[in-house]
Symmetry: C2
DNA sequence: TCATGCTTTCAATACTTATTGAAAGTACCC
DNA sequence: GGGTACTTTCAATAAGTATTGAAAGCATGA
């Protein structure tokens, strides 16, 4: 088996399994596959190339490419002399992480904070045992949610260097060879 | 409107909306609702009470209660003189967080690390431009995934106190009134 | 042993979400 | 204007996931 065949196999495997993983990350399989394809393409690609590579319909390719643009994970590129749009992914892994973190915070934490705020407010004057327990639990959840929101906010604004230094110093962790970056 | 009515409304609202949020957290709506119900119940509850409160079938209640037990978010309680099982949730918010974090790491990060390891291995000897780009990108993703895995691992083992001190000191964040805990 | 009360399973079904493909929209050029 | 090369939308459909309810399983005690 040649290195080239290994590579083709690895590439197909990566796209297909990254897609499957996408599901557990709360994004659709196809969107994750399109993202995978773009992350490993040295050149930007067109909607037609995307359809071809992933064997999906035009509508599907279009929707997911634009959704990725919406997330800020993919940019539209216009090539001179070409009428169609090309797409290229953000390749910097830390940037990808901060973008995804910000989006997940917005979709997963912020609404929880709002909900808890409302529930805390409406239960603050309640007398019953059940009511007291409710209010206490909601308050604790709220404190945590606000805390998580702030951590997310701060992290998503951090540059790679400071983030790594931070993690290194206080968790004693480091990805190999990255301490000098 | 009495405080009691506000409370009943808040409680129903909490259960129903926590369920909706569950979806974006990658767990099923019903499982999140069951969890919500248990978190705010001062007493442990039975399968029948769960069915009653949430208006769901026995099979559904059973499956989701047991799934929560599987996660470690809910415990089975046996009451003397009672033949049926009762369920109570872990109420400590930090413990809930570390349990969920561990589970999400296991389901969302670990498989990614495995995938990337395999892809890096199979593409390390490739010569083409496309192959080189692939290998480089996979390696960067792998470094990050391993890093994230370690952060998750460490965080999920942290006790609430040290975690808060840590966050306070280096992010300048604190949930109000918690610095002395 | 059988009746009772509870737990567990699972095939059928309902609900939710993703995908297709064709039609409509838009922008550019001759 | 009209033709061409794309992009965008969306109703129909397919695929995936959750829920039901009834039947089977299991433990207890009369």
């Amino acid at each position: 088996m040649s290195a080239t065949n290994d590579f083709i196999e690895a590439k197909d495997d990566f796209i297909s399994q990254w897609g499957a993983l996408g599901t557990s990350w709360g994004i659709s399989r196809t969107m994750a596959q399109v993202h995978a394809l773009l992350m490993i393409s040295p050149e930007s690609i067109s909607t037609d190339q995307c359809m071809e590579e992933l064997q999906i319909s035009r509508g599907n390719a279009h929707t997911n490419l634009k959704e990725l643009v919406g997330w800020g994970l993919v940019r539209i590129v216009v090539k001179k002399g070409e009428r169609k749009e090309f797409f290229e992914a953000e390749k910097d892994v830390w940037k990808v992480f901060t973008i995804v973190l910000r989006e997940r915070k917005r979709r997963e934490i912020d609404p929880a904070v709002e909900l808890l705020k409302g529930c805390a407010e409406r239960s603050k004057n309640v007398k019953s045992l059940e009511g007291q327990a409710f209010h206490k639990q909601i308050n604790e959840l709220q404190d945590f949610a606000i805390f998580a929101s702030k951590v997310g906010e701060t992290m998503s604004q951090l540059k790679y260097g400071p983030a790594i230094k931070f993690a290194d110093k206080f968790l004693g962790l480091l990805p190999k060879d990255k301490s000098m970056k």
